[in-house]
Amino acid sequence: MIAQVNPFNALEDLTRRRFLISSGAVLSAGTVALLAGRSALAAEYGRKMDNTQADVQILNTALSAEYEAIAAYGVGAGSGLLKKPVLDLALMFQHQHKEHADLLAKTVAKLGGKAVEAKAKYDFPIGKLKTQNDVLDFAAGLERGAVSAYLGAVPLFRNGDLSKAAASILGDEAMHWAILRQALGENPVPAAFMS
Protein backbone atom coordinates (compact mmCIF):
# COMPACT_ATOMS: atom_id res chain seq x y z
CA MET A 1 0.00 0.00 0.00
CA ILE A 2 1.28 3.46 -0.91
CA ALA A 3 0.77 6.07 1.79
CA GLN A 4 -0.53 9.48 0.68
CA VAL A 5 2.03 12.04 1.73
CA ASN A 6 2.23 15.77 1.40
CA PRO A 7 5.75 16.60 0.20
CA PHE A 8 5.36 20.11 1.56
CA ASN A 9 4.57 18.84 5.08
CA ALA A 10 7.82 20.29 6.35
CA LEU A 11 6.48 23.73 5.48
CA GLU A 12 3.15 23.33 7.25
CA ASP A 13 4.15 25.40 10.27
CA LEU A 14 6.17 27.85 8.26
CA THR A 15 5.58 31.52 8.78
CA ARG A 16 6.97 34.05 6.36
CA ARG A 17 9.06 35.67 9.06
CA ARG A 18 10.58 32.39 10.11
CA PHE A 19 11.36 31.61 6.51
CA LEU A 20 13.15 34.88 5.95
CA ILE A 21 15.36 34.66 9.01
CA SER A 22 16.03 30.93 9.02
CA SER A 23 19.73 30.47 8.33
CA GLY A 24 19.15 26.71 8.62
CA ALA A 25 16.94 26.79 5.55
CA VAL A 26 19.56 28.68 3.57
CA LEU A 27 22.23 26.23 4.64
CA SER A 28 20.01 23.34 3.62
CA ALA A 29 19.45 24.76 0.14
CA GLY A 30 23.17 25.42 -0.16
CA THR A 31 23.87 21.81 0.72
CA VAL A 32 21.49 20.61 -1.96
CA ALA A 33 23.11 22.87 -4.54
CA LEU A 34 26.58 21.77 -3.44
CA LEU A 35 25.61 18.14 -3.88
CA ALA A 36 24.41 19.01 -7.35
CA GLY A 37 27.74 20.72 -8.09
CA ARG A 38 26.10 24.12 -8.49
CA SER A 39 27.06 25.80 -5.21
CA ALA A 40 28.21 29.07 -6.77
CA LEU A 41 25.05 29.25 -8.83
CA ALA A 42 22.73 28.80 -5.87
CA ALA A 43 24.67 31.29 -3.78
CA GLU A 44 24.68 33.94 -6.48
CA TYR A 45 21.01 33.48 -7.27
CA GLY A 46 20.15 33.97 -3.62
CA ARG A 47 22.29 37.10 -3.33
CA LYS A 48 20.56 38.85 -6.20
CA MET A 49 17.00 38.16 -5.09
CA ASP A 50 15.36 37.95 -1.73
CA ASN A 51 15.31 34.26 -0.75
CA THR A 52 11.54 34.03 -0.50
CA GLN A 53 10.98 36.03 -3.67
CA ALA A 54 13.36 33.71 -5.53
CA ASP A 55 11.62 30.58 -4.24
CA VAL A 56 8.19 31.98 -5.07
CA GLN A 57 9.36 32.65 -8.61
CA ILE A 58 10.51 29.02 -8.98
CA LEU A 59 7.25 27.69 -7.51
CA ASN A 60 5.17 29.89 -9.81
CA THR A 61 7.03 28.71 -12.90
CA ALA A 62 6.40 25.12 -11.81
CA LEU A 63 2.76 25.99 -11.14
CA SER A 64 2.36 27.41 -14.67
CA ALA A 65 3.70 24.18 -16.13
CA GLU A 66 1.40 22.09 -13.93
CA TYR A 67 -1.63 24.08 -15.10
CA GLU A 68 -0.58 23.46 -18.68
CA ALA A 69 -0.20 19.72 -18.00
CA ILE A 70 -3.72 19.62 -16.52
CA ALA A 71 -5.06 21.32 -19.64
CA ALA A 72 -3.06 19.00 -21.92
CA TYR A 73 -4.44 15.87 -20.28
CA GLY A 74 -7.88 17.44 -20.54
CA VAL A 75 -7.38 17.79 -24.29
CA GLY A 76 -6.15 14.19 -24.52
CA ALA A 77 -9.00 12.80 -22.44
CA GLY A 78 -11.57 14.81 -24.36
CA SER A 79 -10.19 13.93 -27.78
CA GLY A 80 -12.07 10.66 -28.04
CA LEU A 81 -8.81 9.03 -29.11
CA LEU A 82 -7.98 7.42 -25.76
CA LYS A 83 -9.56 4.08 -24.98
CA LYS A 84 -9.73 2.38 -21.59
CA PRO A 85 -7.50 1.62 -19.73
CA VAL A 86 -5.30 4.33 -21.28
CA LEU A 87 -8.05 6.91 -20.74
CA ASP A 88 -8.16 6.06 -17.02
CA LEU A 89 -4.40 6.42 -16.86
CA ALA A 90 -4.54 9.88 -18.46
CA LEU A 91 -7.23 10.99 -16.03
CA MET A 92 -5.21 9.70 -13.08
CA PHE A 93 -2.13 11.59 -14.27
CA GLN A 94 -4.23 14.71 -14.75
CA HIS A 95 -5.52 14.35 -11.20
CA GLN A 96 -1.97 14.07 -9.89
CA HIS A 97 -0.98 17.23 -11.75
CA LYS A 98 -3.95 18.94 -10.10
CA GLU A 99 -2.62 17.78 -6.73
CA HIS A 100 0.80 19.23 -7.60
CA ALA A 101 -0.78 22.50 -8.68
CA ASP A 102 -2.94 22.80 -5.55
CA LEU A 103 0.02 22.26 -3.31
CA LEU A 104 2.31 24.61 -5.24
CA ALA A 105 -0.33 27.36 -5.14
CA LYS A 106 -0.86 26.90 -1.40
CA THR A 107 2.87 27.00 -0.79
CA VAL A 108 3.26 30.22 -2.78
CA ALA A 109 0.48 31.77 -0.68
CA LYS A 110 2.09 30.49 2.51
CA LEU A 111 5.31 32.21 1.54
CA GLY A 112 3.44 35.47 1.11
CA GLY A 113 3.51 35.36 -2.68
CA LYS A 114 0.78 35.57 -5.28
CA ALA A 115 0.22 32.31 -7.11
CA VAL A 116 -0.05 32.53 -10.90
CA GLU A 117 -3.38 31.52 -12.35
CA ALA A 118 -4.12 29.08 -15.13
CA LYS A 119 -4.36 30.65 -18.58
CA ALA A 120 -7.79 31.02 -20.11
CA LYS A 121 -6.53 29.23 -23.22
CA TYR A 122 -3.60 26.96 -24.06
CA ASP A 123 -2.17 26.27 -27.48
CA PHE A 124 -1.61 22.61 -28.23
CA PRO A 125 -0.77 20.87 -31.51
CA ILE A 126 -4.28 19.44 -31.68
CA GLY A 127 -4.14 19.05 -35.46
CA LYS A 128 -1.28 16.58 -35.07
CA LEU A 129 -3.19 14.33 -32.65
CA LYS A 130 -4.85 11.70 -34.86
CA THR A 131 -4.40 8.49 -32.88
CA GLN A 132 -4.12 7.28 -29.31
CA ASN A 133 -0.37 6.94 -29.77
CA ASP A 134 -0.14 10.57 -30.95
CA VAL A 135 -1.75 11.67 -27.69
CA LEU A 136 0.49 9.40 -25.62
CA ASP A 137 3.58 10.65 -27.45
CA PHE A 138 2.55 14.26 -26.91
CA ALA A 139 1.96 13.63 -23.19
CA ALA A 140 5.25 11.73 -22.89
CA GLY A 141 7.12 14.71 -24.36
CA LEU A 142 5.54 17.05 -21.82
CA GLU A 143 6.30 14.72 -18.91
CA ARG A 144 9.88 14.22 -20.05
CA GLY A 145 10.35 17.98 -20.25
CA ALA A 146 8.72 18.41 -16.85
CA VAL A 147 11.26 16.05 -15.29
CA SER A 148 14.07 18.22 -16.69
CA ALA A 149 12.33 21.40 -15.57
CA TYR A 150 12.09 20.16 -11.98
CA LEU A 151 15.63 18.85 -12.17
CA GLY A 152 16.73 22.34 -13.16
CA ALA A 153 14.70 23.94 -10.38
CA VAL A 154 15.74 21.74 -7.47
CA PRO A 155 19.25 23.23 -7.03
CA LEU A 156 17.92 26.81 -7.20
CA PHE A 157 15.64 26.72 -4.17
CA ARG A 158 16.98 28.59 -1.16
CA ASN A 159 14.89 26.46 1.18
CA GLY A 160 16.01 22.82 1.27
CA ASP A 161 12.52 21.63 2.14
CA LEU A 162 11.27 23.10 -1.12
CA SER A 163 14.03 21.29 -3.02
CA LYS A 164 12.92 18.05 -1.41
CA ALA A 165 9.27 18.73 -2.23
CA ALA A 166 10.08 19.59 -5.85
CA ALA A 167 12.12 16.39 -6.12
CA SER A 168 9.06 14.50 -4.88
CA ILE A 169 6.99 15.93 -7.75
CA LEU A 170 9.86 15.18 -10.14
CA GLY A 171 9.70 11.52 -9.11
CA ASP A 172 5.98 11.38 -9.85
CA GLU A 173 6.39 12.97 -13.28
CA ALA A 174 9.25 10.60 -14.11
CA MET A 175 6.88 7.72 -13.35
CA HIS A 176 4.29 9.25 -15.68
CA TRP A 177 6.89 9.49 -18.41
CA ALA A 178 8.03 5.88 -17.94
CA ILE A 179 4.48 4.53 -18.03
CA LEU A 180 3.60 6.56 -21.12
CA ARG A 181 6.70 5.21 -22.86
CA GLN A 182 5.72 1.69 -21.84
CA ALA A 183 2.23 2.26 -23.29
CA LEU A 184 3.88 3.42 -26.52
CA GLY A 185 5.92 0.21 -26.68
CA GLU A 186 9.16 2.07 -25.98
CA ASN A 187 11.80 1.33 -23.38
CA PRO A 188 10.20 2.86 -20.27
CA VAL A 189 13.53 3.65 -18.63
CA PRO A 190 15.94 4.47 -21.45
CA ALA A 191 18.80 5.77 -19.31
CA ALA A 192 20.27 5.47 -15.83
CA PHE A 193 20.37 9.24 -15.41
CA MET A 194 18.13 12.13 -16.37
CA SER A 195 19.24 15.59 -17.35
Binding site: R38, R144, A146, Y150, G152, S195
Partner: protein, 138 residues
Amino acid sequence: MRTLAALPVLLLVLMAPLAAAGRQPIGDPARGKVIYERCQGCHSLAYNRTGPRHCGLFGRRAGSVPGFAYSSAMAKSNVVWNELTLNRFLSSPTRMIPGTAMTYAGVPDPQERADLIAWLRIATVSRTECPHVEPHAR
Protein backbone atom coordinates in the same frame (compact mmCIF):
# COMPACT_ATOMS: atom_id res chain seq x y z
CA MET B 1 65.44 43.03 -38.50
CA ARG B 2 62.81 45.19 -36.86
CA THR B 3 60.22 43.49 -39.10
CA LEU B 4 61.33 40.06 -37.95
CA ALA B 5 61.15 41.11 -34.32
CA ALA B 6 57.55 42.23 -34.79
CA LEU B 7 56.53 38.95 -36.42
CA PRO B 8 55.63 37.01 -33.23
CA VAL B 9 53.44 39.90 -32.06
CA LEU B 10 51.74 40.06 -35.44
CA LEU B 11 51.10 36.30 -35.39
CA LEU B 12 49.60 36.52 -31.91
CA VAL B 13 47.26 39.29 -33.02
CA LEU B 14 46.22 37.39 -36.13
CA MET B 15 45.70 34.11 -34.29
CA ALA B 16 43.80 35.54 -31.33
CA PRO B 17 40.37 35.20 -32.96
CA LEU B 18 41.18 31.62 -33.92
CA ALA B 19 42.15 30.82 -30.35
CA ALA B 20 38.96 32.41 -29.08
CA ALA B 21 36.91 30.44 -31.57
CA GLY B 22 38.69 27.29 -30.44
CA ARG B 23 37.28 27.72 -26.94
CA GLN B 24 33.73 27.49 -28.30
CA PRO B 25 32.87 23.88 -29.13
CA ILE B 26 31.31 23.16 -32.50
CA GLY B 27 27.67 22.22 -32.04
CA ASP B 28 26.03 19.11 -33.44
CA PRO B 29 22.35 19.83 -34.20
CA ALA B 30 21.44 16.13 -34.08
CA ARG B 31 22.62 15.94 -30.48
CA GLY B 32 21.03 19.32 -29.84
CA LYS B 33 17.64 17.99 -30.94
CA VAL B 34 17.80 15.38 -28.18
CA ILE B 35 18.93 17.98 -25.62
CA TYR B 36 15.98 20.17 -26.66
CA GLU B 37 13.65 17.51 -25.17
CA ARG B 38 14.67 18.95 -21.79
CA CYS B 39 13.26 22.32 -22.81
CA GLN B 40 9.90 20.89 -23.82
CA GLY B 41 8.52 20.95 -20.31
CA CYS B 42 8.04 24.68 -20.87
CA HIS B 43 8.85 25.56 -24.49
CA SER B 44 7.94 24.61 -28.01
CA LEU B 45 9.03 25.94 -31.34
CA ALA B 46 5.67 27.06 -32.66
CA TYR B 47 3.57 28.26 -29.75
CA ASN B 48 3.82 30.00 -26.40
CA ARG B 49 3.66 27.76 -23.36
CA THR B 50 5.05 28.30 -19.85
CA GLY B 51 7.91 29.84 -21.81
CA PRO B 52 7.73 31.75 -25.10
CA ARG B 53 7.86 30.07 -28.50
CA HIS B 54 11.27 29.61 -30.10
CA CYS B 55 10.45 30.20 -33.77
CA GLY B 56 12.34 33.29 -34.92
CA LEU B 57 14.56 33.26 -31.82
CA PHE B 58 17.81 34.44 -33.40
CA GLY B 59 18.00 38.20 -33.77
CA ARG B 60 14.94 38.69 -31.60
CA ARG B 61 15.00 41.02 -28.63
CA ALA B 62 14.42 39.15 -25.35
CA GLY B 63 10.97 39.69 -23.92
CA SER B 64 9.40 40.64 -27.24
CA VAL B 65 7.18 37.75 -28.36
CA PRO B 66 3.67 39.17 -28.74
CA GLY B 67 1.10 37.75 -26.37
CA PHE B 68 3.58 36.28 -23.93
CA ALA B 69 3.66 37.56 -20.35
CA TYR B 70 7.34 37.96 -19.49
CA SER B 71 8.94 38.67 -16.14
CA SER B 72 9.85 42.33 -15.87
CA ALA B 73 13.49 41.22 -15.55
CA MET B 74 13.38 39.60 -18.98
CA ALA B 75 11.35 42.39 -20.53
CA LYS B 76 13.90 44.96 -19.37
CA SER B 77 16.99 42.85 -20.08
CA ASN B 78 17.87 44.56 -23.36
CA VAL B 79 19.30 41.30 -24.65
CA VAL B 80 19.19 40.26 -28.30
CA TRP B 81 19.36 36.50 -28.81
CA ASN B 82 22.31 35.17 -30.77
CA GLU B 83 24.88 32.41 -30.27
CA LEU B 84 26.81 34.38 -27.67
CA THR B 85 23.88 35.60 -25.59
CA LEU B 86 22.19 32.20 -25.74
CA ASN B 87 25.39 30.48 -24.67
CA ARG B 88 25.66 32.78 -21.69
CA PHE B 89 21.98 32.57 -20.77
CA LEU B 90 21.75 28.80 -21.11
CA SER B 91 24.78 28.30 -18.88
CA SER B 92 22.80 29.86 -16.03
CA PRO B 93 19.58 31.75 -16.82
CA THR B 94 19.08 33.11 -13.31
CA ARG B 95 22.65 34.37 -13.11
CA MET B 96 22.50 36.26 -16.39
CA ILE B 97 18.98 37.65 -15.80
CA PRO B 98 18.11 37.53 -12.07
CA GLY B 99 14.35 37.58 -11.74
CA THR B 100 13.72 35.65 -14.94
CA ALA B 101 10.80 33.23 -14.77
CA MET B 102 13.06 30.64 -16.38
CA THR B 103 14.04 29.24 -13.02
CA TYR B 104 16.24 26.52 -14.43
CA ALA B 105 19.78 25.79 -13.29
CA GLY B 106 21.00 25.73 -16.89
CA VAL B 107 23.06 23.55 -19.17
CA PRO B 108 26.51 23.54 -17.58
CA ASP B 109 28.31 21.52 -20.28
CA PRO B 110 29.68 23.85 -23.02
CA GLN B 111 29.44 21.09 -25.63
CA GLU B 112 25.80 20.45 -24.79
CA ARG B 113 25.07 24.18 -25.02
CA ALA B 114 26.80 24.35 -28.40
CA ASP B 115 24.77 21.35 -29.61
CA LEU B 116 21.53 22.87 -28.38
CA ILE B 117 22.27 26.24 -29.96
CA ALA B 118 23.20 24.54 -33.25
CA TRP B 119 19.80 22.79 -33.20
CA LEU B 120 17.96 25.98 -32.32
CA ARG B 121 19.72 27.78 -35.18
CA ILE B 122 18.12 25.34 -37.63
CA ALA B 123 14.84 24.50 -35.92
CA THR B 124 13.77 28.08 -35.18
CA VAL B 125 13.64 28.89 -38.90
CA SER B 126 12.13 25.57 -39.99
CA ARG B 127 9.62 26.16 -42.79
CA THR B 128 7.30 23.49 -41.39
CA GLU B 129 7.42 24.44 -37.70
CA CYS B 130 7.98 28.17 -38.16
CA PRO B 131 6.25 29.21 -41.39
CA HIS B 132 5.70 32.77 -40.14
CA VAL B 133 9.38 33.56 -39.58
CA GLU B 134 10.51 36.40 -41.83
CA PRO B 135 12.37 35.09 -44.91
CA HIS B 136 15.46 37.23 -44.15
CA ALA B 137 15.91 35.33 -40.88
CA ARG B 138 16.37 32.00 -42.67
